[in-house]
């Protein structure tokens, strides 16, 4: 038996792929951030120094201007007093020129400082804008990819992976996502493998069980051929062996059908089939059993029905299964009816009984495996609990639908819709 091996390790392949297309490693992005931060600090420092120097220059200018006025006023006082008037006038003119020079100088410095601060501000803002757009861009691409990959993964694409890149945060997120997706894919692979092993097991087991069952059934039949040599008690015992063997065979056949269905190996050979003879055939098979319990079994086939495209044996199996259920779950004296009517582009077959019916919660799971009617009833019911699950698989394989309705205490109706021969597929649901 093969051990369980995880499927191809595509997460690793995905990462290798992402590294080839990689643009910015997380460490580079971090260095860039630090670089920008240092540049900001230097620029801010320079701006502070520049503005402080400018304020000092302004103060110096005002002090010098004030001193110049004082000198001029002193000179003007000396002119008024008639002391060195000529020299004092020269001083007044010099001081005016000096102040004009100081004024021109500070104006130039103000302009330079304003230009420097303005340029610095613009540079800082541009840098900040660049850094932020860069940050957003490096985050946006991986995040968009993550959203996209998550959507695909949720939609069942287990191959969905992201390229691991961008900032360390988004890279970590991407790595975590890829790891999770890889794990999901590995588990899905394991599950598929287990399913295949289970199918193989059922196929092999049902095959291996057939030979001993053939012997048991064959020898029990052999005993019954010499019925006259057996006591009544012995004959009854052999009948029990035969009954149980037949039940086992039915169970094996059902299990085999289900395993085939699961493995996609349940095949049908559809051919145009006349509905009336199909119903007739199934009813004939059941007649002796229903008569044995005084149950009435009637068939009503609408005249002029189109042929259906079915595998005759398989749809007969479905009908017999539905009739067997109606027969086994209904009490003695019950009425069972099979009807065939036209419905849309096909034919609806309905099996109706006036037996005990089912509550809604049971009806909901009636096509599940090993679901059977009420436990109190199942004691005398010989079914395998697989019949309806198989019937559903078979009907769906034909492109048809199957459904059930039931009223507790009034009986149940099972409806099978099958496409008419030549029809494309189900166009009318079985209600």
């Amino acid at each position: 038996m093969p051990s369980v091996v995880p499927v191809a390790s595509s997460p690793i392949a995905g990462q290798a792929y992402s590294r080839r297309r990689f643009r910015l490693s997380p460490s580079v992005a971090n260095r860039l951030t630090i670089g920008f931060a240092i540049a900001f600090a230097v620029l801010t420092g320079l701006a502070v120094i520049g503005v402080a120097r400018f304020l000092q220059q302004r103060q110096d200018f005002e002090d010098a201007t004030a001193r110049s006025y004082q000198v001029e006023i002193a000179a003007r006082n000396r002119i008024a007093a008639g002391i060195h008037p000529v020299a004092s006038r020269v001083i007044v003119v010099k001081q005016k020129a000096e102040r004009q020079h100081l004024h021109d100088e500070i104006e130039g410095k103000t302009r330079d400082t304003a230009l420097l601060v303005g340029a610095g501000l613009i540079a800082a803002l541009t840098g900040a804008a660049l850094l932020f757009t860069g940050l957003i861009a490096t985050m946006r691409r991986p995040l968009e990819e993550l959203v996209d990959a998550s959507g695909r993964l949720a939609g069942g694409d287990l191959e969905a992976r992201v390229k691991v890149g961008g900032l360390s945060e988004t890279a970590a997120l991407g790595e975590a996502f890829n790891e999770m997706a890889g794990e999901l894919q590995r588990r899905a692979g394991e599950r598929d493998q287990l399913e295949t092993m289970k199918d193989e097991f059922v196929l092999t087991a049902s095959h291996e069980l057939r030979s001993p069952l053939t012997s048991v059934q064959g020898f029990a039949e052999l005993l019954m051929l010499e019925r006259e040599k057996l006591s009544d008690k012995q004959a009854e015992t052999v009948e029990v062996i035969l009954d149980n063997t037949r039940h086992l065979v039915r169970l094996l056949n059902d299990l085999l059908d289900l395993a085939r269905s699961d493995a996609g190996r349940l095949t049908i050979k559809p051919a145009p089939t006349e509905v009336g003879s199909l119903v007739e055939d199934a009813v004939r098979t059941m007649r002796s059993q229903t008569e044995g319990r005084d149950q009435s079994l009637v068939q009503r086939v609408e005249p002029g029905l189109p042929e259906v495209s079915v595998d005759r044996d398989r749809i007969r199996q479905v009908l017999v299964n539905l009739l067997t259920n109606a027969h086994e779950y209904s009490p003695a004296g019950a009425s069972i009816a099979v009807t065939a009517t036209r419905n849309g582009a096909g034919v609806e077959l309905a099996v109706r009984d006036d037996g005990p019916g089912m509550p809604a919660d049971q009806l909901e799971h009636i096509f599940d495996r090993f679901t059977r009617g009420d436990a109190g009833l199942t004691q005398h019911v010989g079914g395998t609990g697989l019949g309806l699950a198989i019937s559903k698989s078979l009907v769906e394989l034909h492109g048809g639908t199957i459904g059930a309705e039931s009223t507790l205490g009034q009986g149940s109706t099972f409806r099978v819709w099958l496409p008419a021969a030549g029809a494309d597929g189900p166009q009318q649901e079985a209600t």
Binding site: R210, T214, G218, F219, T267
Partner: protein
């Protein structure tokens, strides 16, 4: 008397088949696998009228024996006994001429009817 060669690796199945066939008045030859079938066909006198071979047997399967016998030009009717549909599908898919398939558990009434039909007895 119609001679039937039966082959199965299970002794109980062989006993069952032999008993039922003899009760029906057939003369029965047995083989435990495909190799014994080929030996029996070579040495049997008179040759069997029909062969009933289990599809799966050790050493040589019924399907392989069937293939070799047909290659040798044997035209005797051959029925293949198989456990389930899948084997029959596999057999039917091959191009070897087979007279029919019998599934386990064996429906003896059906089997006798088919033997009678194939051998004209």
């Amino acid at each position: 008397m119609t001679r039937v060669l039966i082959a199965d690796d299970s002794e109980t199945i062989l006993l069952l088949l032999r008993t039922r066939l003899e009760m029906e008045g057939y003369e029965v030859l047995t083989a435990a696998d495909g190799v014994e079938v080929l030996e029996a066909i070579g040495g049997a006198d008179p040759a069997p009228d029909i062969l009933l071979l289990d599809a799966m047997m050790p050493r040589k399967s019924g399907i392989d024996a069937l293939r070799e016998l047909r290659a040798q030009g044997l035209e005797t009717p051959i029925l293949i006994v198989s456990a389930h549909q899948d084997q029959m599908d596999a057999g039917a898919a091959s191009d070897v001429e087979v007279s029919g398939y019998v599934t386990k558990p064996i429906d003896f009434d059906d089997l006798f009817a088919r033997i009678a039909e194939l051998t004209g007895s």
